[in-house]
């Protein structure tokens, strides 16, 4: 019984750490730049992009066929990266803006 309880505590801590990591994974868009890039996260992390620029931007992840809505100033967009890999993305309005998310297993 003690052993089983211990195991469940470990799982709980692990889950809490996972949630914290997800909250921490953010990218700020300002002055036509994504920051930080590349962003390294664990698989299962939700990445949040927030637009602090005075022009609208969007996120396009071509390999995942994901396109965000256009984000005006202070709007945001989130996407959960389930699989490990290297994900290049760009702004759908200003495709010279590039970013990258590195997702580790």
């Amino acid at each position: 019984m003690r052993s089983a309880l211990g195991a469940s505590v470990v799982v709980l801590i692990s889950t809490r750490a996972f949630v914290a990591a997800a909250e921490d994974a953010g990218v700020v868009i300002d002055n036509f730049t994504f920051s930080p890039t590349p962003l390294t996260v664990k698989a299962g992390t939700t990445v949040n992009w927030v637009n602090r620029d005075d022009m609208p931007h969007s996120i396009v992840l071509p390999t995942l066929n994901v396109k965000s809505h256009p984000m005006d100033t202070d709007e945001d967009f989130s996407y959960c990266f389930e699989q490990a890999g290297t994900y290049d993305y760009l702004c759908g309005l200003h495709p010279h803006m590039h970013g990258q998310v590195l997702v580790q297993a």
Binding site: D54, M55, L90, G92, L93, H94
Partner: protein, 312 residues
């Protein structure tokens, strides 16, 4: 540059880009006559007396934009339209080269239609990337795309000139540049096939068809292919927006021109960290915004373009 300086053909190659000093209170007229491009700055009064067929171009109104670079873009569009209405000889029609709205919202399109409608002029448009953010461009096409092909391209004839509106803002790729795509290029090749080489051609599109500054995506990846279909024509004039400033270049028989925004200026290529809105003192804003009037000077094809700031 003095007010009467004339750029001879030999100079054109050396100069490459020629930046129009509208904010200095002058206007630029250039003509391409008999294969000899000439360009000079003249006063607005002389330009205004030009007779014959003419039309006006405005661009990048960004209705819905409300940031410090211009908190009232509706008012500055209205100013531009008032200036057009005040022209002694009314132009044949109005061309808007895209970014009519800032976020493709119905209310923004409504305002644009209502304001442009007050001129009583026929309006021809092409979309900018800001006009196709909702419903995959349908909100634009439902209002401005009647009779157009594909994503909104079309052609028409007026005043002896063949006009071609192209769309280079859809499915933008990682190279950062505008793109026309195969379907539209095939249509263009077919569209001009039957025209005689002496027909003056005006092409208008949002993003410049020539590469102004690749690092900021100010160019069209397959623009050169489009222009290759226009090689046989003696007079080709390309009108663009997108970069919120006037620039022009003459390359052989093709004259390229971008116009100012009616909303806010953007920095000269590479002169700032990003191409974002340029903040200028409120009292100077209208010197950075403007309209362009394009005239057919004679039956031998030359077109003359006069950029006019909203003020100053």
């Amino acid at each position: 540059m003095s007010n009467d300086s004339i750029i001879e053909p030999g100079d054109m190659q050396r100069r490459g880009f020629l930046k129009c000093m509208t904010w200095a209170g002058t206007a630029m007229v250039w003509t391409v006559a008999g294969g000899v491009p000439r360009s000079r700055l003249i006063g607005n009064a002389k330009a205004a007396t030009n007779d014959g067929f003419s039309f006006v171009q405005i661009s990048d109104s960004h209705l819905g934009f409300d940031k410090p670079a211009n908190p009232n873009v509706t008012a500055t569009l209205q100013d531009a339209l008032n200036n057009i209405a005040a022209m002694p000889k009314q132009p044949a029609f109005l061309i808007h080269t895209g970014d009519i709205t800032h976020l493709s919202k119905p209310a923004q399109f409504d305002t644009a239609q209502q304001l442009m409608g007050t001129t009583k002029l026929a309006v021809h448009t092409v979309p900018g990337e800001h006009d196709i953010l909702e419903e995959e461009g349908k909100s634009y096409l439902n209002r401005f795309g009647k009779g157009a092909k594909g994503d909104g391209w079309y052609s028409f004839d007026a005043g002896g000139v063949h006009f071609i509106g192209l769309v280079n803002v859809v499915n933008l790729q990682g190279n950062g540049l505008g793109a026309l795509g195969h379907e539209q290029l095939d249509w263009l090749a077919d569209d001009v096939k039957q025209l005689t080489a002496s027909t003056p051609i005006v092409v208008f599109a949002h993003v410049p068809l020539w590469t102004v500054y690749a690092d900021w995506g100010w160019g069209t990846s397959d623009g050169a292919q489009a222009l290759s279909y226009l090689k046989k024509f003696g007079s080709v004039t390309v009108l663009n927006g997108h970069i919120h400033q006037t620039m022009q270049k003459v390359e052989g028989h093709v004259a390229f021109h971008t116009v100012c925004s009616t909303a806010f200026p953007q920095p000269a290529p590479g002169s700032a960290k990003s191409p974002g809105p340029m903040l200028v003192p409120a009292a100077e804003l209208k010197q950075h915004l403007g309209i362009a009037r394009v005239s057919l000077v004679s039956s031998n094809a030359p077109l003359a373009i006069v950029d006019t700031p909203l003020a100053g």
